[in-house]
Amino acid sequence: MTWLALRQFRAAGAAMAAVVLVLVAVLLATGLGTTDYTQLDVVYTVTLIGVTALPVLIAIFVAVPMVTRELETGTHSLVWNQTVTRKRWLATKFAVGLPAAVVAAGALSLAATWWAGPLDAQDAWNADAVPPRISPAVFMARGLAPFGYAAFAYALGIAVAVLVRRTVAAMALTLVLFVAVQLAVPFLVRPYLLAPVEETVAITEANVGEIRGTPDGLESVGVIEPDRAWTLTNETVDAQGAAVGSLREVAGLGCLTGPQPVPPAHESLVGCLVRLDELGYQQRLVYHPDSHFWALHGIEAGFFLALSALLAWFSFRRINHLS
């Protein structure tokens, strides 16, 4: 059984290995001893896209066809009628491809993490600063999480293939589901994997980084966010600690309330901030600092591995209902 699965996996596995090896080689060639990254923004972007896309590409082009092509060409009825159970057939599909997918995606991710290390470590005020590595835009292309993504994508591909049975439809559904999960996780799951840092700071002219308003008046302010952190919340709270929706509703603020010139005068803005502080308003910050990076990665990888196990369980349950 393993021989057959390996034989079927051969071409796809070789292609997968080739892509990863080429990308890793490029990263090594451009990353070793480099201090000046200004000419390398193409490599940076390709790496970001490559690590993000590799798990789902493996799922679509390796995992899905591994099952659907047998169902479409009817070879499943050949192999299921040898002295081997369907469960073992399915187990081999997992055993052959999934570790390879995890290793490929993980290796590329670690190479990217190493390559982009000096860039990711830059402070935000640096001229060619990139998004911090813990921010959602970069997070999924670094560290340990791609190990979990690869396992999840592969298990998703197999489960969808078992369910849908047609190659193209299963590919499309796998892609849609994977993208949906990857879009949802940064908002619905990742913030809660680890307790974020919470702090409440005074609003001063020095630390306010952002003032938003309409011609009708002041809307909200934001303080300068911690460096290299992933800020979840940056909101004004009153003396009791309750969040303020719009600063226009603050009683007794008495500044920037009516129609204003655009932009408003500097003095009136500063006066407004001082007044907010006097009334006991503060700014609440909730964020994951850069020090949470590896812990978040470990937990998220575990979360995706658990999802993969669930999908595998589903596939094994479904396989006996196929014909």
Binding site: L4, T73, G74, S77, V79, N81, Q82, T83, T85, N320
Partner: protein
């Protein structure tokens, strides 16, 4: 010994449509059994149920003493060559044999190699480039070298030209003689079945219409012809399978365990093909009446 026993076996594939219903079968071991019926009668369904590819909606099916698809012991006992003889297009002939060897503990490598040599297949040829006849032969080789007790074949010769068909059936008969395995084979081609089958199962409209050893079936079915007359007054023990009337003559196909003595009729024998056609072409006359009575 029974090689396939079905009790009230049924498979429903949509809410109202039954692919197979109320199937009662008891096929003894050691036969080459032919499974005939029109398209959509449930032949493939029955074979798929016997192989364990499908699970019955109702009733039970027992193959070689076990439940189909219930585990490796059962899988080892039953060989199945599906319709269109699916093979891995990218694998060579030799790789298919290797696949068979690695997936079957009872694999007979010698037998497989000898058969491939005799058929004249190039071991290094990809299965995707084989002709229909060669594909069928390779699939049959895998099925036989597995050394099952029962070999299920779904329309194995449908795609073959007459010569390839003859070779295929001759090979099958040789394997049956050498290994003493039982075969259940579906086919449209009654002439082919006539050559190789000694047991017959006729499926019509998802139901078993006729089953038994070919010799016995031929012995109890007779063709009667005589002057035109009403045919409700046949003696006990005789059952009309079909009746045809012209202006002056009536021809009947009758099932009777006893000898026929009515001097009015000329009694003739039926060939297997005649017999099958009589059953396929006439609706089951007794059933609606019975259902009304119930």
């Amino acid at each position: 010994m029974t090689v396939l026993r079905a009790t009230n076996l049924g498979l429903r594939y949509t809410k109202r449509r039954w692919a197979l219903a109320g199937c009662e079968l008891d096929v003894p071991a050691g036969h080459v059994a032919g499974l005939v019926g029109p398209n959509g009668a449930g032949k493939s369904t029955l074979l798929n149920l016997a192989a364990g590819m499908l699970r019955p909606t109702e009733g039970t099916i027992e193959v070689c003493g076990g439940i189909p698809g219930s585990g490796t012991d059962q899988l080892a006992k039953v060989g199945y060559v599906a319709q269109n003889t699916p093979l891995y297009a990218g694998l060579t002939v030799a790789e298919h044999l290797r696949l068979g060897a690695s997936l079957n503990p009872r694999w007979d490598a010698d037998l497989a190699r000898r058969r491939i040599e005799r058929i004249g297949l190039d071991p290094n040829q990809a299965a995707g480039r084989l002709s229909g006849g060669q594909r069928a032969q390779l699939a049959l080789t895998i099925g036989i070298a597995k050394r099952p007790e029962l070999l299920l074949l779904d329309e194995p010769v449908a795609a073959l030209d007459p010569l390839a068909r003859r070779d295929f059936l001759r090979d099958l008969m040789e394997a049956v003689a050498e290994q003493g395995l039982s075969v259940l084979m579906s086919s449209h081609l009654i002439a082919d079945l006539e050559r190789v089958c000694d047991y017959l199962v006729v499926l019509v409209d998802s139901r078993v219409r006729l089953t038994g050893e070919v010799e016995n079936l031929l012995a109890v079915h007779h063709r009667l012809s005589g002057p035109r007359r009403d045919v409700d007054d046949l003696p006990d023990g005789q059952r009309i399978v079909s009746a045809r009337h012209t202006d002056r003559q009536t021809t009947l196909c009758v099932r009777s365990e006893n000898a026929l003595f009515d001097p009015l009729w000329t009694v003739g024998e039926l060939t297997l093909e005649d017999l099958v056609l009589e059953y396929l072409s006439t609706p089951e006359a007794t059933r609606p009446a019975l259902e009304v009575l119930r």
